[in-house]
């Protein structure tokens, strides 16, 4: 792994993102709008679990989903345009390439999460028992998880249409089973076991821990699982990058 090539990729991806003003604006504004919508929905109803308990899981979900989509489409474009093959014929490590992407999108995710957390905590008064900084770290890691998963699945798509279909295939089941709708321990045994394996469950658990309690030990254990999943996805992603093809 070389810092030079990793940074070159990260800088290049950020330059491309900077050019695409509309995507940039949507990355920052849309999560905030969705969170405001969620907050507004509960206003004056006194019904349902309320913003305080649904806000934290959504802070985990939104960056995960957005970064998954953005990354899988961007990397697919790189694979189909021939630039990936060109890069792999140059002195470019596979890990350098993936980490460059993870770094650039991780940074984007950090900006996105700063705005989303600021809106939730500052503007909408979401209660956070633990540290807001920890909340931010978890949000960024969830986004990097989305990036890593997106990098991996882009290898299995030949077109953008297919890449977008991986969202219902890989992301929606994780949303259903992450404990947002029913507490995970209350699910049928098999589904509970499945949810114990899925990475997003830990992202959401960590968020709920930080928001709901001042003890951060359990949250950090969940964060550890998320980080391990990021490493696994990047490793699998590197395995799908082939210097030679038929």
């Amino acid at each position: 792994m070389r810092a030079r090539t990793t940074l070159a990729v990260a800088l290049r991806v950020l330059t491309q993102l900077r050019r695409d003003r509309r995507t940039l604006a949507m990355l920052v504004v849309l999560p905030c709008v969705m969170l405001v919508l969620l907050w507004w929905m509960f206003q004056g109803t006194g019904l349902g679990p309320g913003f305080d308990s649904l806000g934290p899981p959504l802070l985990a979900l939104i960056p995960f989903i957005v970064m998954f989509l953005v990354t899988s489409v961007t990397t697919l474009r790189e694979r189909t345009s021939g630039t990936l093959e060109r890069l792999l014929a140059m002195p470019m490590g596979k890990a350098d390439f993936l980490l460059g992407y993870a770094l650039a999108f991780g940074l984007m995710a950090a900006v996105q999460s700063v705005f989303a957390v600021a809106v939730c905590v500052g503007l909408l008064g979401m209660g956070v028992a633990g540290s807001v900084w920890t909340l931010l770290v978890v949000a960024v890691l969830d986004a990097v998880l989305g990036t890593a998963l997106g990098l991996f699945v882009s290898a299995f798509a030949q077109t953008e249409f297919q890449a977008v279909q991986f969202m219902p295939a890989l992301v929606i089941p994780q949303i259903l089973l992450c404990g947002l709708f029913i507490a995970r321990h209350a699910m049928p045994g098999v589904l509970h076991a499945v949810s114990d394996v899925l990475p997003l469950s830990y992202g959401v658990d960590a968020m709920q821990q930080v928001a709901g309690s001042t003890a951060s030990g359990q949250a950090w254990a969940d964060v550890g699982v998320v980080v391990a999943w990021i490493a696994v996805c990047l490793g699998l992603g590197a395995a799908t990058l082939r210097r030679r093809s038929a």
Binding site: A8, R12, S81, G82, L88, R243, R244, S245, A246
Partner: protein, 246 residues
């Protein structure tokens, strides 16, 4: 440098259940422009990909600068231009070159030099997306020249270019060869053959000639390379067809 830049022996490549290359044997010397000519679909690109080391081989060997094609040590010593320009549409010409120069570890001054070599100084701050097809392929060519590689593999680099520019590019190829580089240029336009020091004529995955343009014309008694190509095909196909007749 002694010996040949590229040596190909017994090269067979299958793609799917189709045999694309049927046991090729040839060498590309240093200091010459070698033309690889043949109709579309005859296997030129597959052959070039094999030399670059991105093609999975079925049998045979490809040696570049004394090393197996695709070796790590060759990654900054071989410049490859694909038929479809492999550059980033949403970056400017300079941004593209600066990025690839970073990946290759080429000195910053090379960017300016390569811009001049392909005659794109006037377009440096333009987005590649806004360039014409010919300009785009010149950006791709400039990227291949960044590392000042001793071996250049160029897949139809002059297609669709205006004649003046085409002549200039051929002059550049000869200058590069004059400084010792091995330049392999493919084309499906037979009239480009006269610009080459040596010719490899290809048809249906087989080499039908490996000679200088002058000797090729002399041997076949044709007035141009197209005529020589037809004469060689007739010579090659004639006996086989005769044998197939009842």
């Amino acid at each position: 440098m002694v010996g040949n830049a590229v040596e190909v022996a017994g090269l067979v490549v299958d793609r799917g259940d189709r045999r694309v290359l049927h046991g090729l044997e040839f060498a590309v010397p240093h200091g010459e422009v070698t033309g690889l000519l043949g109709p579309s679909g005859c296997g030129k690109t597959t052959l070039m990909r094999s030399i670059v080391g991105v093609q999975r081989l079925t049998a045979g060997t490809v040696t570049v600068l004394g090393l197996p094609a695709g070796s790590r040590a060759l990654r900054d010593r071989l410049g490859y231009v694909t038929q479809a320009p492999s550059v980033y549409d949403d970056l400017t010409v300079t941004e593209n070159l600066v990025f690839f120069a970073r990946v290759l570890g080429a000195p910053a001054g090379r960017v300016e030099h390569c811009l001049e070599l392909v005659g794109l100084e006037g377009h440096r701050h333009q987005l590649v997306r806004r360039l014409s097809g010919g300009e785009r392929s010149r950006v791709s060519l400039a990227v291949a020249l960044l590392a000042d590689p001793p071996v250049l593999v160029l897949d139809e680099p002059t297609v669709g270019l205006d004649p003046v520019l085409r002549r200039e590019l051929w002059r550049t190829f000869h200058e590069l060869a004059g400084s010792g580089a091995a330049v392999l240029v493919s084309s499906h336009v037979m009239d480009e053959a006269s610009r080459c020091d040596r010719l490899l004529l290809m048809r249906d995955g087989r080499l039908i000639a490996d000679d200088t343009p002058a000797r090729l014309l002399q041997r076949t008694g044709a007035i141009d390379v197209e005529g020589a190509f037809l004469a060689l095909v007739a010579e090659d196909v004639g006996p086989a067809q005769a044998g197939a007749r009842p």
